[in-house]
Protein backbone atom coordinates (compact mmCIF):
# COMPACT_ATOMS: atom_id res chain seq x y z
CA UNK A 1 0.00 0.00 0.00
CA UNK A 2 2.80 2.40 0.89
CA UNK A 3 4.30 1.95 -2.55
CA UNK A 4 1.10 2.67 -4.40
CA UNK A 5 -0.02 5.96 -2.89
CA UNK A 6 0.94 7.95 -5.99
CA UNK A 7 -1.34 5.86 -8.17
CA UNK A 8 -4.26 6.63 -5.87
CA UNK A 9 -3.31 10.31 -5.92
CA UNK A 10 -3.25 10.20 -9.72
CA UNK A 11 -6.71 8.63 -9.96
CA UNK A 12 -8.19 11.02 -7.40
CA UNK A 13 -6.70 14.00 -9.23
CA UNK A 14 -8.18 12.82 -12.52
CA UNK A 15 -11.61 12.38 -10.92
CA UNK A 16 -11.27 15.89 -9.46
CA UNK A 17 -10.26 17.52 -12.73
CA UNK A 18 -12.98 15.78 -14.70
CA UNK A 19 -15.67 16.95 -12.32
CA UNK A 20 -14.11 20.34 -11.65
CA UNK A 21 -13.06 20.90 -15.23
CA UNK A 22 -16.55 20.30 -16.53
CA UNK A 23 -18.60 22.11 -13.90
CA UNK A 24 -16.58 24.95 -12.36
CA UNK A 25 -17.09 28.27 -14.08
CA UNK A 26 -14.42 29.43 -16.61
CA UNK A 27 -13.77 33.12 -17.37
CA UNK A 28 -15.66 34.55 -20.35
CA UNK A 29 -13.09 35.24 -23.06
CA UNK A 30 -13.71 36.21 -26.64
CA UNK A 31 -13.76 33.35 -29.16
CA UNK A 32 -12.51 30.89 -26.53
CA UNK A 33 -15.70 30.82 -24.42
CA UNK A 34 -16.34 27.36 -23.01
CA UNK A 35 -13.51 25.83 -25.07
CA UNK A 36 -11.13 27.29 -22.46
CA UNK A 37 -11.80 24.02 -20.65
CA UNK A 38 -9.48 22.38 -23.20
CA UNK A 39 -6.70 23.77 -21.01
CA UNK A 40 -7.35 21.00 -18.46
CA UNK A 41 -7.20 18.20 -21.00
CA UNK A 42 -5.13 19.36 -23.97
CA UNK A 43 -2.20 21.22 -22.40
CA UNK A 44 -1.35 18.53 -19.78
CA UNK A 45 -1.00 16.03 -22.66
CA UNK A 46 1.99 17.98 -23.99
CA UNK A 47 3.53 18.46 -20.56
CA UNK A 48 3.24 14.75 -19.95
CA UNK A 49 4.59 13.89 -23.38
CA UNK A 50 7.70 16.07 -22.92
CA UNK A 51 8.29 14.69 -19.42
CA UNK A 52 7.91 11.09 -20.58
CA UNK A 53 10.23 11.69 -23.55
CA UNK A 54 12.66 13.28 -21.10
CA UNK A 55 12.63 10.10 -19.01
CA UNK A 56 13.08 8.07 -22.19
CA UNK A 57 16.20 10.08 -23.05
CA UNK A 58 17.42 9.72 -19.46
CA UNK A 59 17.20 5.92 -19.68
CA UNK A 60 18.89 6.04 -23.10
CA UNK A 61 21.83 7.86 -21.53
CA UNK A 62 21.83 5.31 -18.72
CA UNK A 63 21.84 2.55 -21.33
CA UNK A 64 24.92 3.96 -23.05
CA UNK A 65 26.71 4.12 -19.70
CA UNK A 66 25.54 0.76 -18.50
CA UNK A 67 24.03 -1.46 -21.20
CA UNK A 68 21.32 -3.51 -19.53
CA UNK A 69 18.07 -4.74 -21.05
CA UNK A 70 16.26 -3.05 -18.19
CA UNK A 71 17.35 0.46 -19.25
CA UNK A 72 16.57 -0.27 -22.88
CA UNK A 73 13.10 -1.57 -22.00
CA UNK A 74 12.31 1.48 -19.88
CA UNK A 75 13.55 3.93 -22.49
CA UNK A 76 11.41 2.18 -25.12
CA UNK A 77 8.27 2.12 -22.95
CA UNK A 78 8.59 5.76 -21.93
CA UNK A 79 8.84 6.67 -25.61
CA UNK A 80 5.79 4.50 -26.38
CA UNK A 81 3.54 6.06 -23.76
CA UNK A 82 4.91 9.55 -24.54
CA UNK A 83 3.87 9.06 -28.14
CA UNK A 84 0.40 7.95 -27.04
CA UNK A 85 0.05 11.17 -25.04
CA UNK A 86 1.36 13.15 -28.01
CA UNK A 87 -1.29 11.65 -30.28
CA UNK A 88 -3.98 12.46 -27.71
CA UNK A 89 -2.57 16.00 -27.51
CA UNK A 90 -2.81 16.44 -31.26
CA UNK A 91 -6.35 15.01 -31.36
CA UNK A 92 -7.63 17.19 -28.51
CA UNK A 93 -5.90 20.17 -30.12
CA UNK A 94 -7.57 19.47 -33.45
CA UNK A 95 -10.93 19.15 -31.76
CA UNK A 96 -10.38 22.52 -30.07
CA UNK A 97 -9.07 24.20 -33.23
CA UNK A 98 -12.11 23.02 -35.13
CA UNK A 99 -14.35 25.20 -32.96
CA UNK A 100 -12.08 28.21 -32.41
CA UNK A 101 -10.01 28.47 -35.59
CA UNK A 102 -12.58 26.92 -37.89
CA UNK A 103 -10.42 24.07 -39.18
CA UNK A 104 -8.87 21.10 -37.39
CA UNK A 105 -5.48 21.65 -39.07
CA UNK A 106 -4.50 25.27 -39.33
CA UNK A 107 -0.79 25.00 -40.08
CA UNK A 108 0.08 26.83 -36.89
CA UNK A 109 3.79 26.56 -35.92
CA UNK A 110 2.84 24.75 -32.72
CA UNK A 111 0.81 22.17 -34.62
CA UNK A 112 3.66 21.61 -37.05
CA UNK A 113 6.18 21.29 -34.23
CA UNK A 114 3.99 18.72 -32.52
CA UNK A 115 3.61 16.73 -35.73
CA UNK A 116 7.39 16.72 -36.22
CA UNK A 117 7.96 15.57 -32.63
CA UNK A 118 5.70 12.60 -33.34
CA UNK A 119 7.52 11.93 -36.63
CA UNK A 120 10.83 11.75 -34.74
CA UNK A 121 9.56 9.09 -32.38
CA UNK A 122 7.79 7.14 -35.12
CA UNK A 123 11.16 7.08 -36.89
CA UNK A 124 12.66 5.82 -33.63
CA UNK A 125 10.22 2.90 -33.60
CA UNK A 126 10.98 2.13 -37.26
CA UNK A 127 14.69 2.08 -36.39
CA UNK A 128 14.07 -0.32 -33.54
CA UNK A 129 12.01 -2.52 -35.82
CA UNK A 130 14.70 -2.80 -38.45
CA UNK A 131 17.52 -3.94 -36.17
CA UNK A 132 17.66 -7.63 -35.25
CA UNK A 133 20.58 -7.84 -32.85
CA UNK A 134 19.28 -6.95 -29.38
CA UNK A 135 22.46 -5.28 -28.11
CA UNK A 136 22.91 -3.28 -31.31
CA UNK A 137 19.26 -2.26 -31.29
CA UNK A 138 19.57 -0.90 -27.77
CA UNK A 139 22.73 1.04 -28.52
CA UNK A 140 21.75 2.55 -31.86
CA UNK A 141 18.24 3.49 -30.80
CA UNK A 142 19.61 5.09 -27.62
CA UNK A 143 21.97 7.20 -29.74
CA UNK A 144 19.15 8.24 -32.06
CA UNK A 145 16.86 8.98 -29.14
CA UNK A 146 19.34 11.39 -27.56
CA UNK A 147 20.24 13.04 -30.84
CA UNK A 148 16.66 13.46 -32.03
CA UNK A 149 15.46 14.80 -28.69
CA UNK A 150 18.16 17.46 -28.75
CA UNK A 151 17.28 18.35 -32.34
CA UNK A 152 13.62 18.58 -31.36
CA UNK A 153 14.19 21.17 -28.61
CA UNK A 154 14.64 24.19 -30.90
CA UNK A 155 11.63 23.01 -32.87
CA UNK A 156 9.31 22.90 -29.89
CA UNK A 157 10.64 25.59 -27.57
CA UNK A 158 12.38 28.19 -29.75
CA UNK A 159 10.88 28.38 -33.22
CA UNK A 160 7.22 28.76 -32.12
CA UNK A 161 8.33 31.74 -30.03
CA UNK A 162 10.01 33.39 -33.02
CA UNK A 163 6.94 33.19 -35.21
CA UNK A 164 3.53 34.71 -34.84
CA UNK A 165 1.06 32.10 -33.85
CA UNK A 166 -2.67 31.96 -33.28
CA UNK A 167 -2.17 29.56 -30.42
CA UNK A 168 -3.38 30.94 -27.06
CA UNK A 169 -0.48 32.39 -25.14
CA UNK A 170 1.29 33.57 -28.29
CA UNK A 171 1.26 36.97 -29.97
CA UNK A 172 -1.11 38.60 -27.50
CA UNK A 173 -3.79 35.95 -27.77
CA UNK A 174 -5.69 35.27 -24.59
CA UNK A 175 -5.11 32.01 -22.81
CA UNK A 176 -2.14 30.31 -21.31
CA UNK A 177 -0.30 33.09 -19.51
CA UNK A 178 -0.14 34.54 -16.02
CA UNK A 179 -2.68 37.30 -16.61
CA UNK A 180 -5.54 35.39 -18.14
CA UNK A 181 -5.22 32.20 -16.20
CA UNK A 182 -7.32 33.24 -13.23
CA UNK A 183 -7.07 31.55 -9.87
CA UNK A 184 -10.05 29.26 -10.43
CA UNK A 185 -8.51 27.83 -13.58
CA UNK A 186 -5.16 27.39 -11.91
CA UNK A 187 -6.75 25.35 -9.16
CA UNK A 188 -7.67 22.78 -11.78
CA UNK A 189 -4.85 23.23 -14.28
CA UNK A 190 -1.91 22.47 -11.98
CA UNK A 191 -3.50 19.35 -10.46
CA UNK A 192 -4.38 18.29 -14.02
CA UNK A 193 -0.73 18.39 -15.08
CA UNK A 194 0.33 16.35 -12.05
CA UNK A 195 -2.59 13.93 -12.40
CA UNK A 196 -2.02 13.15 -16.07
CA UNK A 197 1.70 12.76 -15.48
CA UNK A 198 1.14 10.27 -12.64
CA UNK A 199 -1.24 8.29 -14.84
CA UNK A 200 1.40 8.29 -17.58
CA UNK A 201 4.00 6.96 -15.16
CA UNK A 202 1.60 4.27 -14.02
CA UNK A 203 0.93 3.13 -17.59
CA UNK A 204 4.69 2.97 -18.21
CA UNK A 205 5.32 0.91 -15.08
CA UNK A 206 2.53 -1.51 -16.06
CA UNK A 207 3.95 -1.86 -19.57
CA UNK A 208 7.45 -2.47 -18.24
CA UNK A 209 6.19 -5.20 -15.92
CA UNK A 210 4.10 -6.75 -18.69
CA UNK A 211 7.12 -6.87 -21.05
CA UNK A 212 9.32 -8.38 -18.36
CA UNK A 213 6.78 -11.12 -17.66
CA UNK A 214 6.48 -11.77 -21.37
CA UNK A 215 10.27 -12.09 -21.69
CA UNK A 216 10.34 -14.51 -18.79
CA UNK A 217 7.55 -16.59 -20.33
CA UNK A 218 9.47 -16.82 -23.61
CA UNK A 219 12.56 -17.89 -21.71
CA UNK A 220 10.55 -20.55 -19.86
CA UNK A 221 9.09 -21.85 -23.11
CA UNK A 222 12.55 -22.05 -24.62
CA UNK A 223 13.68 -23.99 -21.57
CA UNK A 224 16.40 -21.47 -20.72
CA UNK A 225 15.37 -21.26 -17.09
Amino acid sequence: MKKHWWKIVGVLLLVYIHIGGMFIEVPRLNILNETARALYFHVPMWFTMILLYGFSVYYSIQYLRNPSTDNDLKSMQFAHVGTAFGILGILTGMLWANYTWGTPWHGDPKQNGAAIALLVYLAYFVLRGSLDNEEQRGRLSAVYNIFAFAAMIPLIFIIPRLTDSMHPGNGGNPGFNAYDLDSRMRMIFYPAVIGWFLIGLWIVSLRVRWKKIQERLFDLEDGKI
Binding site: L64, F147, L162
Partner: protein
Amino acid sequence: MTNQVLVHLIKKEFTLELRRKSVISGIGLYLFSLIFICYITFSLRQNSINAATWSALFWLTILFSVVNTVAKSFIGERKGLFIYMYSVASPKSIILSKIIYNSLLCTLLSLAGFALFSVFIFNPVQDMVLFVSALALTSIGFSASLSLISGIASKANNSNILMAVLSFPVLISILLMAIRITKNAIDGIDRSASIDEMLNLLAINAIAVVLAYLLFPYIWRS
Protein backbone atom coordinates in the same frame (compact mmCIF):
# COMPACT_ATOMS: atom_id res chain seq x y z
CA MET B 1 49.00 13.02 -32.55
CA THR B 2 45.24 13.17 -32.91
CA ASN B 3 45.54 16.25 -35.12
CA GLN B 4 47.86 14.35 -37.40
CA VAL B 5 45.42 11.47 -37.61
CA LEU B 6 42.62 13.92 -38.39
CA VAL B 7 44.57 15.54 -41.23
CA HIS B 8 45.46 12.11 -42.61
CA LEU B 9 41.84 10.98 -42.48
CA ILE B 10 40.58 14.10 -44.28
CA LYS B 11 43.31 13.67 -46.90
CA LYS B 12 42.23 10.05 -47.31
CA GLU B 13 38.64 11.12 -47.94
CA PHE B 14 39.71 13.57 -50.62
CA THR B 15 42.08 11.18 -52.38
CA LEU B 16 39.47 8.43 -52.34
CA GLU B 17 36.84 10.80 -53.68
CA LEU B 18 39.07 12.04 -56.46
CA ARG B 19 40.10 8.50 -57.33
CA ARG B 20 36.55 7.22 -57.62
CA LYS B 21 35.42 9.65 -60.30
CA SER B 22 32.20 7.76 -60.94
CA VAL B 23 30.87 8.57 -57.46
CA ILE B 24 31.51 12.30 -57.60
CA SER B 25 30.18 12.58 -61.13
CA GLY B 26 27.16 10.56 -60.02
CA ILE B 27 26.43 13.12 -57.31
CA GLY B 28 26.86 15.96 -59.79
CA LEU B 29 24.54 14.32 -62.25
CA TYR B 30 21.97 13.68 -59.51
CA LEU B 31 21.96 17.38 -58.66
CA PHE B 32 21.77 18.36 -62.30
CA SER B 33 18.87 15.99 -63.01
CA LEU B 34 16.94 17.25 -59.97
CA ILE B 35 17.36 20.86 -61.07
CA PHE B 36 16.46 20.00 -64.63
CA ILE B 37 13.28 18.31 -63.40
CA CYS B 38 12.42 21.47 -61.44
CA TYR B 39 13.02 23.44 -64.60
CA ILE B 40 10.86 21.15 -66.73
CA THR B 41 8.00 20.92 -64.26
CA PHE B 42 7.83 24.52 -63.10
CA SER B 43 9.74 27.00 -65.12
CA LEU B 44 9.39 25.95 -68.74
CA ARG B 45 6.69 28.50 -69.23
CA GLN B 46 8.09 31.89 -68.40
CA ASN B 47 7.10 33.63 -65.17
CA SER B 48 5.36 30.63 -63.67
CA ILE B 49 7.71 30.66 -60.66
CA ASN B 50 8.01 33.35 -57.99
CA ALA B 51 10.62 33.94 -55.31
CA ALA B 52 8.84 31.85 -52.64
CA THR B 53 8.53 28.85 -54.96
CA TRP B 54 12.16 29.33 -55.96
CA SER B 55 13.29 29.09 -52.36
CA ALA B 56 11.14 26.00 -51.70
CA LEU B 57 12.44 24.23 -54.81
CA PHE B 58 16.01 25.21 -54.06
CA TRP B 59 15.98 23.84 -50.53
CA LEU B 60 14.19 20.65 -51.57
CA THR B 61 16.84 20.03 -54.20
CA ILE B 62 19.68 20.72 -51.78
CA LEU B 63 18.08 18.55 -49.08
CA PHE B 64 17.69 15.53 -51.33
CA SER B 65 21.12 15.74 -52.91
CA VAL B 66 22.84 16.33 -49.56
CA VAL B 67 21.04 13.38 -47.90
CA ASN B 68 22.12 11.12 -50.75
CA THR B 69 25.68 12.43 -50.73
CA VAL B 70 26.33 12.15 -47.01
CA ALA B 71 24.51 8.81 -46.79
CA LYS B 72 27.38 7.15 -48.61
CA SER B 73 29.89 8.13 -45.91
CA PHE B 74 29.05 4.96 -44.00
CA ILE B 75 26.37 3.15 -46.02
CA GLY B 76 27.73 0.87 -48.70
CA GLU B 77 31.31 0.82 -47.45
CA ARG B 78 32.96 -2.57 -47.33
CA LYS B 79 33.14 -4.36 -43.99
CA GLY B 80 36.90 -4.74 -44.26
CA LEU B 81 37.40 -0.99 -44.44
CA PHE B 82 35.49 -0.53 -41.17
CA ILE B 83 37.67 -3.08 -39.41
CA TYR B 84 40.83 -1.48 -40.77
CA MET B 85 39.69 2.03 -39.73
CA TYR B 86 38.74 0.70 -36.34
CA SER B 87 42.24 -0.54 -35.79
CA VAL B 88 44.09 2.58 -36.93
CA ALA B 89 42.03 5.56 -35.72
CA SER B 90 39.89 6.59 -32.77
CA PRO B 91 36.15 6.96 -33.44
CA LYS B 92 36.25 10.62 -32.45
CA SER B 93 38.77 11.52 -35.11
CA ILE B 94 36.82 9.47 -37.65
CA ILE B 95 33.57 11.35 -37.06
CA LEU B 96 35.35 14.72 -36.99
CA SER B 97 37.08 14.00 -40.27
CA LYS B 98 33.77 12.89 -41.79
CA ILE B 99 31.99 16.02 -40.57
CA ILE B 100 34.69 18.36 -41.89
CA TYR B 101 34.93 16.58 -45.20
CA ASN B 102 31.15 16.36 -45.64
CA SER B 103 30.72 20.05 -44.73
CA LEU B 104 33.11 21.02 -47.51
CA LEU B 105 31.40 18.67 -49.94
CA CYS B 106 27.93 19.95 -48.99
CA THR B 107 29.01 23.57 -49.34
CA LEU B 108 30.43 22.86 -52.78
CA LEU B 109 27.28 20.97 -53.70
CA SER B 110 24.96 23.77 -52.57
CA LEU B 111 27.06 26.37 -54.40
CA ALA B 112 26.92 24.26 -57.55
CA GLY B 113 23.17 23.89 -57.05
CA PHE B 114 22.84 27.64 -56.66
CA ALA B 115 24.82 28.25 -59.85
CA LEU B 116 22.66 25.77 -61.78
CA PHE B 117 19.49 27.31 -60.39
CA SER B 118 20.65 30.75 -61.55
CA VAL B 119 21.35 29.43 -65.04
CA PHE B 120 18.23 27.36 -65.58
CA ILE B 121 15.58 29.11 -63.53
CA PHE B 122 16.71 32.51 -62.29
CA ASN B 123 18.50 34.17 -59.40
CA PRO B 124 16.21 36.21 -57.14
CA VAL B 125 18.79 36.64 -54.35
CA GLN B 126 19.68 40.24 -53.59
CA ASP B 127 21.94 39.83 -50.56
CA MET B 128 24.52 37.36 -51.85
CA VAL B 129 26.86 37.44 -48.83
CA LEU B 130 24.05 36.60 -46.41
CA PHE B 131 22.75 33.83 -48.65
CA VAL B 132 26.12 32.19 -49.19
CA SER B 133 27.00 32.30 -45.48
CA ALA B 134 23.61 30.71 -44.74
CA LEU B 135 24.44 28.00 -47.28
CA ALA B 136 27.77 27.31 -45.55
CA LEU B 137 26.18 27.19 -42.09
CA THR B 138 23.38 24.83 -43.14
CA SER B 139 25.98 22.61 -44.82
CA ILE B 140 27.78 22.18 -41.51
CA GLY B 141 24.55 21.36 -39.68
CA PHE B 142 23.40 18.95 -42.37
CA SER B 143 26.69 17.13 -42.54
CA ALA B 144 27.03 16.74 -38.76
CA SER B 145 23.52 15.31 -38.35
CA LEU B 146 23.67 13.20 -41.48
CA SER B 147 27.11 11.72 -40.75
CA LEU B 148 25.85 10.40 -37.42
CA ILE B 149 22.57 9.13 -38.87
CA SER B 150 24.38 7.50 -41.76
CA GLY B 151 26.44 5.63 -39.17
CA ILE B 152 23.23 4.44 -37.48
CA ALA B 153 21.48 3.55 -40.71
CA SER B 154 24.46 1.61 -42.09
CA LYS B 155 23.99 -1.04 -39.38
CA ALA B 156 20.35 -1.71 -40.26
CA ASN B 157 18.91 -3.83 -43.02
CA ASN B 158 16.98 -1.32 -45.12
CA SER B 159 19.51 1.47 -44.72
CA ASN B 160 18.48 3.70 -47.61
CA ILE B 161 14.87 4.12 -46.52
CA LEU B 162 15.95 4.39 -42.90
CA MET B 163 18.39 7.16 -43.80
CA ALA B 164 15.57 9.34 -45.12
CA VAL B 165 13.12 8.47 -42.36
CA LEU B 166 15.60 9.15 -39.56
CA SER B 167 17.11 12.30 -40.98
CA PHE B 168 14.16 14.36 -42.23
CA PRO B 169 12.56 15.14 -38.85
CA VAL B 170 15.98 15.99 -37.41
CA LEU B 171 16.84 18.33 -40.28
CA ILE B 172 13.58 20.28 -40.26
CA SER B 173 14.70 22.87 -37.70
CA ILE B 174 17.86 23.65 -39.71
CA LEU B 175 15.79 23.84 -42.86
CA LEU B 176 13.23 26.20 -41.30
CA MET B 177 15.98 28.61 -40.25
CA ALA B 178 17.60 28.41 -43.67
CA ILE B 179 14.32 29.14 -45.44
CA ARG B 180 13.77 32.22 -43.31
CA ILE B 181 17.24 33.58 -43.99
CA THR B 182 16.71 32.87 -47.69
CA LYS B 183 13.51 34.89 -47.62
CA ASN B 184 15.35 37.83 -46.06
CA ALA B 185 18.18 37.49 -48.58
CA ILE B 186 15.72 37.40 -51.49
CA ASP B 187 13.87 40.47 -50.24
CA GLY B 188 17.15 42.26 -49.60
CA ILE B 189 16.16 43.22 -46.07
CA ASP B 190 18.77 44.80 -43.80
CA ARG B 191 21.11 42.18 -42.35
CA SER B 192 20.29 43.02 -38.75
CA ALA B 193 16.89 41.38 -39.37
CA SER B 194 18.52 38.00 -39.93
CA ILE B 195 20.91 38.02 -36.98
CA ASP B 196 18.52 36.05 -34.76
CA GLU B 197 18.14 33.33 -37.37
CA MET B 198 21.88 33.12 -37.99
CA LEU B 199 22.58 32.79 -34.26
CA ASN B 200 19.91 30.11 -34.01
CA LEU B 201 21.46 28.25 -36.90
CA LEU B 202 24.86 28.48 -35.22
CA ALA B 203 23.43 27.14 -31.97
CA ILE B 204 21.71 24.22 -33.73
CA ASN B 205 24.97 23.46 -35.55
CA ALA B 206 26.87 23.49 -32.29
CA ILE B 207 24.38 21.04 -30.73
CA ALA B 208 24.53 18.76 -33.76
CA VAL B 209 28.35 18.72 -33.96
CA VAL B 210 28.85 18.18 -30.22
CA LEU B 211 26.28 15.40 -30.03
CA ALA B 212 27.63 13.66 -33.11
CA TYR B 213 31.11 13.85 -31.61
CA LEU B 214 29.99 12.47 -28.25
CA LEU B 215 27.61 9.79 -29.51
CA PHE B 216 29.52 8.39 -32.46
CA PRO B 217 31.89 6.18 -30.41
CA TYR B 218 28.85 4.18 -29.24
CA ILE B 219 27.79 3.42 -32.80
CA TRP B 220 31.27 2.61 -33.94
CA ARG B 221 31.93 -0.06 -31.35
CA SER B 222 30.18 -3.01 -32.98
